[in-house]
């Protein structure tokens, strides 16, 4: 009986830990600094699935972008492994979708590599994008 209770307790604890691990990377909303950098056109969505600095890079902006890209990369790696794809394939696919989801005025990278401001129409994307 005691062992059973103990086992149940251990189960509950591990479940709680798993929930915490799963919940940790998911963030409810964008950081205000990130949101401002996006809408201000200082950062943009790159074709490879990562965030890029559009104009001059200051240390604070560099840190913000690096921080997000490190977290994106970790997420891509995990999801790519689960989907039996390479990190690059998964990241590129996410890039296609992230570019499609940019709001008017936000920046994104066109297939040629140049930064573009998203207009009211569809974004210029790689022909392989879904």
């Amino acid at each position: 009986m005691i062992t059973r209770t103990l086992r149940l307790g251990a189960l509950a604890a591990s479940a709680a830990a798993a929930a915490l691990v799963l919940a940790a990377p998911a963030q409810a909303q964008r950081d205000p600094a990130y949101e401002a950098a996006r809408s201000g056109g200082k950062v943009g969505e790159r074709t490879d699935g990562y965030l890029g600095i559009v104009g001059a890079a200051d240390p604070a902006l560099r840190k913000l972008v690096d921080d997000i890209n490190i977290r994106r990369r970790a997420l891509y790696a995990q999801k790519a492994q689960a989907a039996r794809a390479t990190l690059e394939e998964y990241a590129f696919t996410a890039g296609c979708l992230a570019i499609a989801r940019t709001a008017p005025g936000e920046m994104y990278q066109a297939p040629g590599g140049a930064w573009q401001a998203r207009g009211s129409g569809p974004a210029q994307r790689d022909p392989r994008c879904p």
Partner: protein
């Protein structure tokens, strides 16, 4: 030079014909190497290697729904 007679049936003549032919081929290839020099110029613009070129469209289509969910589930970093 490469007459049918020389390469025909008779073993010694046949050999001689082969030797002649080999010599002729060597002369011809030597002439080709001397006269047919090809000059290759390096392009002016830098060569851009497109690293994403190996990613296939079918793979992207297979991953699209999954990647869409990932983006929606992580609004803080997208």
């Amino acid at each position: 030079m490469r007459s049918a007679k020389l390469t025909h049936k008779h073993a010694p003549r046949h050999k001689a014909g082969m030797r002649m032919r080999a010599a002729w081929v060597m002369v011809m290839s030597g002439a080709g190497a001397l006269g047919g020099c090809i000059t290759v110029n390096a392009p002016e613009e830098p060569i851009v290697i497109e690293l994403n070129i190996n990613i296939k469209q079918e793979v992207i289509y297979r991953l699209a729904a999954d990647a869409g969910n990932t983006i929606e589930e992580n609004p803080g970093i997208f």
